[in-house]
Amino acid sequence: MSKYIPFRTKRDRISFFFDKKSIKYTSILIIVTLLLCLASTSLGQVLISPLEVIQILLGSGEGGNAYIVEILRLPRILIALFVGIGLAVSGAILQGMIRNPLASPDIIGITSGGSVAVVTFLTIFSNENDALTVSIHWQPVAAFIGAMVIGLIVYVLSLKSGTTPIRLVLIGIGLATLMDALTNLFMILGPIYRAADANLWLTGSVYGTNWDQVKVIIPAIVGLIILALLIARRINVQELGDELASGVGSHIQRDRLLFIVVSTALAGVSVSVAGGIGFVGLMAPHIARRLVGASYGALIPISALIGGILVVGADLIGRTLFLPIEVPAGVFTATIGAPYFIYLLFKK
């Protein structure tokens, strides 16, 4: 029995292999994700039985529980899921491009760029009474722009007859430090409760998200993921190393710019709603690689699902473990992520 299932259109215009192993893992992970989301919808300060949740989702529920599920929990869980997916795929692309398993959007400064933009936004658009002069809905836009700008600055600064992966990482780390300093500056200049607002965002939390955000984030992430799947082949080639990749006819520098843009956009969208949820972009692709190997066609969907599971899980723990206090999801992803990072260094 073959390892692959071939897929061909007429006259072989489009053809590719489905890896059986990755189909198996994808289906398992989809089931796990759905179960976790269901569990997360049921659990919380008010316990709602999974059966009732399903009834409500099918449209037959009513009363207080329906409100909790539809307005409070469901958008939050969807956001957590898609933020996780976005961060994981962003990390997967970066790791393939930089060829260093330790790269991730938070380490090379993309998340910090979003943070600076958010605190700047909160500072600039406040009047003397510390009320915001524009709608808070612009905050994600600011974060997205910040992340994109820093991503591009990192890329441009690392150019020097093309860019090398190592230079990209180092410059990212340097800029991240500067961004953190600027974030601190704006937090000090602003009033204290504003700093508390910004701080919650900086840690990374899906607290208080709503359907409007869901409507923005899902199409954006889905679109970018499709793009990522289309360029997966090129990442595979680039992983072979610069010489081999150019040897087989790949435009290394042009592709690298493309990867940066897609990866930064994914991280930017995720950061814009949920703030700096760390280490997901680092962990998810690694776990995925252990399951299905390094081929990006399979790696991207698997990392995406694992990323979603990580963030939904972290949010569930943060919401329920220390009731009635809510701990931001970012704290838990860091708690799992940092030891995992150390383990990776150990193993290599």
Binding site: I173, A181, L189, A196, P328, V331, A334, A338, L345, F346
Partner: protein, 335 residues
């Protein structure tokens, strides 16, 4: 390098030292409250505790100038030792996660106990700094490749990420603690009293002296582990001693002034362009130039958005980042 002979290096050091004294003097005289050199001299020679200028100069500006000098010197020396030890031109307390570790421990202590005396906080931050530095070094050295610059930088960034995420998590749950530590977290030499310095100074002083004495051995160590062992050096001891010095200096600095980055990167590079690679000259140069840089940054921090002040840690980040990027672009070949 600019200075070739021992004579010129000596003159350069004396000149830098004078520059440092000038900066300290300026730091005492300049600021929001208008004072002249005359006022400063009067403040030190007489005992007129009612005078406004007296209070500003003796109670605020003088401790501030002394703290900036000590912290700057310590960070400069810590930076050059770290770079020699790890053979990594980008090593410095900030990049190594030392600052993030100290910050986390301090925030943790503040949120658990509201009445902790400041003397205790210094110890807490010492422990945090040592813990983070040890962790990063240990993690970076794991595995077959050993301690390469990139691995070390990545390990530092990850540990810093972990600690700062914990710090923010605690601050989210405890807004009162946020209020108390926010200014400290940005790194500042303002609003510290003489006592803060006096508590820590003995450790820093010991570390300076030790650094000077092991400079000869560091020279040998930078030739490479194998060469150093071949020449009969007990490399493990020298490394451990240098590690302790770094923790004392970086931990002491962060305890007094909070996390101040980039001095440890910028100063050693500048000093190397003056006197080359001999650690016996580099270490004193880095100390004096570090003091000059931090005092100057602190003076400029008072003027940027007057009447408010920018924490000096932010000033050094703004000065230091372009420098860091320049080194990263130039390549990591040289130590």
């Amino acid at each position: 390098m600019l200075f070739q002979s021992h004579m010129s290096k000596g003159f350069g050091l004396v000149f830098s030292f004078i520059l440092m004294l000038v900066c300290m003097g300026l730091s005492v005289v300049l600021g929001y409250t208008d004072t002249t050199i005359g006022d400063a001299i009067t403040a030190f020679t007489t005992n007129n505790t009612q005078e406004n200028a007296y209070i500003v100069i003796r109670n605020h500006r003088l401790p501030r100038a002394l703290i900036a000098t000590c912290v700057g010197a310590s960070l400069g020396v810590a930076g050059v030792l770290m770079q020699a030890l790890t053979r990594n031109p980008l090593a410095s307390p900030g990049i190594f996660g030392v600052n993030a570790g100290a910050s986390f421990f301090v925030v943790l202590a503040v949120s658990f106990s509201q009445t902790l005396p400041l003397g205790m906080l210094s110890w807490v931050s010492f422990i945090g700094a040592a813990f983070a530095a040890g962790l990063v070094y240990f993690i970076g050295a794991l595995g077959k490749e050993g301690l390469t610059p990139v691995r070390l930088t990545l390990a530092g960034a990850a540990i810093a990420g972990l600690f700062s995420s914990f710090t923010q998590g605690i601050l989210v749950l405890n807004e009162k603690a946020l209020d108390e530590v926010l200014f400290w977290l940005a790194g500042s030499v303002q609003g510290r009293s003489m006592d803060d310095l006096v508590d820590i100074f003995p450790y820093i002083l010991v570390a300076w002296i030790l650094a000077f004495f092991i400079s000869r051995h560091i020279n040998i160590l930078t030739m490479g582990e194998d060469v150093a062992t071949g020449l009969g050096q007990k490399t493990a001891w020298i490394k451990a001693l240098a590690g302790i010095i770094i923790v004392l200096l970086a931990g002491g600095s962060v305890a007094i002034a909070g996390p101040i980055g980039f001095i440890g990167i910028v100063v050693p590079h500048f000093a190397r362009s003056l006197v080359g690679y001999d650690q016996r000259w580099l270490i004193p140069y880095c100390g004096v130039l570090g003091a000059v840089l931090l005092t100057a940054a602190d003076i400029s921090a008072r003027y940027v958005i007057m009447p408010e002040e920018v924490p000096v840690g932010i000033m050094t980040a703004i000065i230091g980042t372009p420098f860091f990027i320049y080194i990263a672009r130039k390549g990591l070949k040289s130590t």
